[in-house]
């Protein structure tokens, strides 16, 4: 058995274990576990247009997850994807608001520029704190998520507040239809092209450039890379910036695409799901494309569950969290099996 197949089997075994834990939790809460899973699978992959929905949710997740993988493989636990995603959306919304009235051919590129820059900058300061002072990036990026969430609440209820908006959730003024890159259904050639561009360019970056090789090595053995004369600080900062920029890009896509406006606390699970996708795919770009589609299906099931099946949407959160709990596990059983096969 090749190592790749072993790692896929291992991931599947632990996902099954995680789902068993979810089943226990669902049963304790008084739901039928099989019914719950049935509804989730229906919602994710078998209802009408399910595959389109899975793609719609999978595309932005794919972009963010590739960014997460870029920083994880360089050895940095940049878990601030959520905050960088919000900052991207916020900056793009400010750009759109500022340029409102100009032709779309100017506004849309500027929005993308603002969004990716915003995400990159929100990733840069934890990177600087980590590489210049040694402050653990796990905590700083996590706190960055909380701060970006508060900033989003502030922006949507302050500077960009929709004056005509009512109801519980504060939101910004909807964008002009001309500036949108997709309808609310959320799938359009532009978004697919962006995701494909990200996928191909990042695959090339990781697999065909010196940066890709060095950052992969730095994640495994930073000391060695340092001794060979590569600049660890530059590699690290580049990883932080790229991962933040991609999360910001995903935020821009969500803003100009399906959402069309900023809403306070929108897509609160985006960053965590993206981290999960990167880990389940074992940080491989092609793997992320496949896994993102599945988690995109789960994300669309979260909207389907309460409306059609009458079940709480938080079931999806539980599934994602259980998978996170188990996904990095290294089972002694499987490793022993592999060793036994190799030994023969």
């Amino acid at each position: 058995m090749s190592d790749r197949i072993v790692s896929i089997i291992r991931a599947l075994i632990f996902i099954v274990l995680a789902l068993a834990l979810c089943g226990v939790i669902f049963s304790i809460a008084g739901y039928s576990a099989t019914g719950m899973f049935q509804a989730i699978i229906d919602g994710a992959f078998f209802r009408n247009n399910a595959l389109t929905h899975a793609l719609r949710w999978g595309m932005p997740l794919f972009i963010t997850a590739v960014g997460v993988a870029i920083s994880f493989r360089a050895g940095y636990f940049n878990i601030g994807a959520q905050g960088q995603f919000y900052m991207g959306a916020i900056c793009a919304a400010f750009a759109a608001d500022w340029l409102n009235g100009l032709p779309a051919a100017i506004v849309i590129p500027v929005c993308f520029l603002a969004g990716t820059t915003g995400g990159a900058l929100w990733s840069l300061w934890p990177g600087l704190l980590r590489l210049k002072s040694g402050a653990d990036e796990v905590i700083t990026t996590l706190m960055g998520n909380f701060l970006a969430g508060l900033l989003l609440v502030y922006v949507t209820s302050g500077p960009l507040k929709d004056p005509s908006g009512s109801g519980q959730q504060a939101s910004s003024t909807p964008l002009d239809a001309a500036y949108r890159i997709s309808t609310s259904a959320g799938l359009s050639p532009v978004i697919i092209a962006i995701a494909a561009l990200v996928g191909i360019s990042m695959w090339l970056l990781v697999n065909r450039t010196a940066y890709g090789v060095l950052s992969g090595l730095a994640g495994r053995n930073a000391t060695m890379v340092n001794w060979q004369g590569a600049k660890l600080v530059n590699i690290g900062l580049a990883s932080f910036i790229i991962s933040g920029a991609l999360a910001g890009l995903a935020g821009t896509v969500e803003l100009l695409g399906p959402n069309g406006r900023l809403a306070s606390g929108f897509l609160p699970a985006h960053g965590f799901t993206a981290i999960l996708i990167a880990l389940v795919a074992n940080l491989s770009i092609t793997g992320i494309a496949i896994v993102a589609f599945f988690f995109g299906g789960l994300a669309s099931a979260a909207l389907y569950l309460p409306v059609i099946a009458g079940l709480p949407a938080t079931a999806i959160e539980i599934i994602n969290a259980s998978i996170a709990l188990f996904i990095t596990a290294k089972s002694g059983v499987i490793d022993r099996l592999v060793r036994w096969r190799k030994g023969r």
């Binding site: 994880f72 653990d136 796990v138 905590i139 909380f146 508060l150 880990l279 938080t314 709990l325 188990f326």
Partner: protein, 297 residues
């Protein structure tokens, strides 16, 4: 002046309990990012059980049992399945946040906050304006001193520190490092349950989704800021509580002139400052488990 001290004690006490949990886990060599999840489970279980049974004692027991069970699960995944501590910890947190939201929705059918008719017993009017504080606030200094004695003055504490800092040395004198970590995580589970109970039932008697709002991560940072020492980490937690109270104070003073969402961010900024300062003082704070081992499986 008194009301500021009361505010700091109220917001600081839950944080200090969870900080002690972070300290004991860190000394055992575990970077415990699941504290947030344990804390919210403690908070949720306390309020829901008070609503269901009307007994604060049973509520505390249920919260403690649930948190200890989750801690054992975390121990199993991290110690026996060798999962990455950071990701598994975040998973545990997600399980706590998602599971409590799920439980509330399953029982009450809405995502709205749940309020209980009464909370933890208060220390009573004989203490003047301090009478509104719950008994867990009074118990907190006792707990801090107990943890200091346990970690710094007992054989158990020494072995625990050895299990974290030099597992090989610990094993060579016959210490079961895995069981030491289990003990540390279980004690941590009890502390998180108490911290969550104080947060939910200590003053407001209400449970709402995501009400911990990052306090578990702040506690984790306080343990780093306090160099893994119970007293130092407690002082760090007090510092975060003071910053939080100052933010609330500033809202009252400035009113609408300063956006209050941004003042709510002060504790997070203080946390970033704390982690940066500890890195400056002690030359880097890096997780014991690098990511390399995950990839080279």
């Amino acid at each position: 002046m008194h009301d500021i001290i009361i505010a700091i004690l109220r917001s600081g006490t839950p944080l200090i309990y969870v900080t002690l949990a972070a300290v004991i886990a860190q000394r055992a060599g575990i970077w415990h990012l699941g504290l947030e999840g344990l804390m919210i489970v403690g908070a949720c279980a306390t309020i829901l059980t008070i609503v269901a049974t009307g007994s604060v004692f049973i509520a505390l027991c249920v919260a403690i049992v649930l948190c200890v069970l989750m801690s054992i699960l975390f121990w199993f995944v991290v110690e026996k399945l060798k999962a990455n501590q950071i990701i598994a910890g975040l998973g545990l947190t997600g399980l706590g946040l998602g599971g409590t939201a799920f439980a509330v929705e399953a029982i009450f059918g809405t995502q709205a906050a749940v309020s209980a008719e009464f909370g933890l017993p208060r220390i009573g009017p004989m203490f003047g304006s301090y009478g509104v504080l719950s008994i867990l606030v009074v118990l907190m200094p006792v707990c801090v001193i107990f943890m200091w004695v346990l970690l710094r003055r007992t054989r158990f504490g020494l072995r625990l520190a050895a299990s974290g800092e030099h597992p090989f040395a610990a094993r060579s004198v016959g210490v079961r490092t895995d069981l030491m970590r289990l003990a540390a995580l279980m004690i941590g589970g009890v502390l998180c349950a108490i911290g969550g109970a104080e947060l939910a039932a200590g003053s407001l008697q209400i449970f709402s989704q995501n009400m911990t709002a990052g306090r578990g991560f702040m506690a984790f940072t306080a343990a780093i800021f306090g160099a893994g020492q119970p007293i130092g980490a407690t002082l760090a937690a007090v510092f975060f509580a003071v910053v939080g109270a100052a933010g609330i104070r500033a809202q009252l003073v400035f009113g609408d002139r300063v956006p209050h969402d941004l003042l709510l961010g002060l504790p997070y900024i203080a946390t970033i400052f704390g982690i940066w300062l500890s890195a400056k003082l002690r030359g880097g704070t890096k997780a014991v488990t690098g990511f390399g081992e995950l990839r080279d499986s």
